[in-house]
């Protein structure tokens, strides 16, 4: 059950996207997200979807993985889709009791669905092709200009690194505790809601106990290795903006410029 968590998973491979500077990837994702929200016509969506498919192909990661990343979103997407079909105003397709489905609602629903899926896919491309460690380093580097106005960039990225590092550990731990309590006859899959909530405590309490214990041990381990925050810390692997990155940045700028022109001309 917990094995299938694909969101946020990293897949090592040798592709252009894997070799790219993570900072550039984050910035481009940011721009892409803005672009998705500015989309309002068929051509816009077709172009963005195409770009997305190209990127997914370039990443050399099987499409099945992307499907799995979208899977947890299924119900939310379906819900919004249905909501949109019935909330639009315009030409009516069918009447259902007091609700009526409209063509305008349908197109709007398709657009919103596509928007959500594109968002998840794009974010997945970033996390699939970037190891969590590199990702947080990149964030720290991107946030460092804001240190002057008091943003604790290093601390934030360290917190993220630790959180990301312990997600798999906690998942394994949860899995083990669930199995252990199941072996003691705890039944998580039947009974009414109150009965099920009753069985959450035997999972949550051990999980919290171990999370606190781990936090304590980690703090001690970091202190005993003289960790004192980001001041004057150097890196083993410096992030460098290479030729590949400039090349990709140039392409991205061209695409973005092209899109802005299209937008202004109103196509």
């Amino acid at each position: 059950m917990l094995d299938d968590m694909m969101l946020g998973q990293f897949f090592p491979a040798d592709s252009v996207l894997h070799r790219m500077d993570a900072r550039l990837k984050i910035m481009l994702l940011f721009i892409f997200i803005i672009a998705i929200f500015l989309c309002d016509s068929k051509t816009d969506y077709i172009l963005l979807t195409l770009l997305n498919i190209i990127l997914m192909t370039v990443s050399k990661i099987p499409f099945v993985m992307y499907l799995k990343a979208v899977k947890p979103m299924f119900w939310i997407v379906l819900f919004t889709f249905i909501m949109h079909i019935f909330s639009g105003e315009g030409t009516i397709i069918a009447d259902l009791w007091i609700f009526s489905a409209t063509w305008e609602g349908l197109t709007e629903g398709i657009f919103i669905t596509l928007r959500l899926i594109l968002l998840v896919l794009m974010a997945s491309i970033l996390t699939f092709t970037t190891s969590p460690l590199v990702l947080t380093d990149a964030l720290e580097s991107l946030l460092s200009p804001f240190k002057k106005i008091g943003v604790p960039a290093h601390e934030l990225s360290m917190m993220m690194t630790i959180a990301l590092r312990f997600i798999p550990t906690l998942i394994t731990e949860t899995d083990k505790i669930i199995k252990a309590q199941k072996s003691r006859g705890a039944d998580f899959s039947s009974g009414n809601i109150i009965q099920r909530i009753k069985y959450i405590m035997p999972i949550l309490i051990p999980l919290f106990v171990s999370a606190f214990r781990r936090a304590d041990e980690l703090a001690l381990a970091m202190e005993s290795r003289c960790y004192r925050g980001g001041q004057g810390r150097t890196r083993m692997k410096e992030m460098k903006f290479g030729r590949l990155d400039f090349f990709i940045a140039a392409i991205a700028v061209l695409i973005i410029a092209g899109m802005i022109v299209l937008k202004i001309k109103g196509i």
């Binding site: 094995d3 491979a13 099987p62 199995k179 252990a180 072996s183 309490i205």
Partner: protein, 289 residues
């Protein structure tokens, strides 16, 4: 009655780059009333195998039958069969959650639908089995106990289910020598009582020697060796390939054999070994005379 495993195969994270075969076509039959040890190095698949025994993991292919019931198919029979296998995980103290020792041990029996009187009896019995004084500890918080005591409470929580088959995964890991010795003695006593089949997973042959009547060596998801302890300990090359070592006693006897005088090396406890060494030593003196 027995646990029968046929053509069991299990793959982790199927169809991802992280795909890994944990078990490959494993066939085993564990007889009721036996004490079986499953030995193997980290990653040999022993923990995966054990989780199949009460249906926590469903096999990718193959079947697991407990007392003739396929535990991955069918309705009520299946649940009953699963309940007859008690499972003590590695570091079981991490599953404690109740406010008192009593409540934690009673959690399982209550879930199995026992009456309060019966639960009471079970808890008392289980606590005496793991050597915890009922009056002294029943109202103690499990989180205020020492590591060894927490482990015992956790094991008592499973023993209180009175399973026909008790599976223990590395029960002695991380315990100090005294707690380890005591726990192994508790397990031995439980087995001696006669109505529990014990399956103990371990990579430490010193824990297994003198307890298990049969050892199954797992290596890379396959059964590498299966037999009586004496025979298994002789197969040094298989043990080494599987990342294991013969118990210290066997190693000692082997050293005596190689460097001093010939002596039987298939003894399973200290007094046998001492007798064998004496016999060999005096036998040699007699020959010399």
């Amino acid at each position: 009655m027995s646990i029968e495993i046929e053509n069991l195969t299990y793959t982790y994270m199927k169809k991802t780059p992280y795909e890994k075969d944990a078990l490959k076509n494993v066939n085993l039959k564990i007889e009721e009333g036996s004490f079986v040890a499953i030995a193997g190095h980290t990653g040999s698949g022993k923990s995966t195998l054990m989780q199949h025994l009460n249906g926590l993991i469903s096999p990718c292919s193959g079947t697991v039958k407990v007392d003739g019931v396929d535990i991955n198919r069918g309705g009520k029979e299946k649940i009953k069969a699963r309940h007859s296998v008690g499972m003590v995980f590695q570091y079981p103290e991490t599953q404690l959650f109740e406010e008192t020792v009593y409540a934690d041990i009673a959690f399982g029996p209550k879930n199995f639908g026992l009456e309060p009187d019966a639960v009471d009896k079970r808890v008392k019995k289980a606590m005496s089995f793991v050597g915890l004084d009922y009056e002294q500890y029943r109202d103690a918080s499990p989180f205020a106990l020492s590591g060894g005591q927490m482990r015992r409470v956790a094991i008592a929580g499973i023993v209180a289910l009175e399973p026909a088959y008790l599976v223990l995964d590395e029960p002695t890991a991380g315990l100090d020598p005294k707690a380890k010795h005591d726990l192994l003695e508790n397990i031995r006593a439980l087995y001696r009582k006669g109505n529990t089949t014990i399956i103990m997973v371990s990579h430490n042959m010193d824990d297994i020697i003198g307890l298990a009547g049969r050892i199954i060596v797992l290596h890379d998801g396959c059964v590498a060796a299966d037999g009586m302890p004496q025979d298994i300990f002789k197969k040094n090359d298989i043990l080494q390939a599987a990342g294991l070592r013969a118990p210290h006693l066997t190693q000692l006897l082997r050293q005596i054999n190689e460097q001093a005088f010939p002596v039987r090396s298939d003894c399973l406890n200290k007094s046998d070994a001492a007798d064998a060494v004496c016999a060999a030593y005096y036998g040699r003196e007699k020959d010399a005379r």
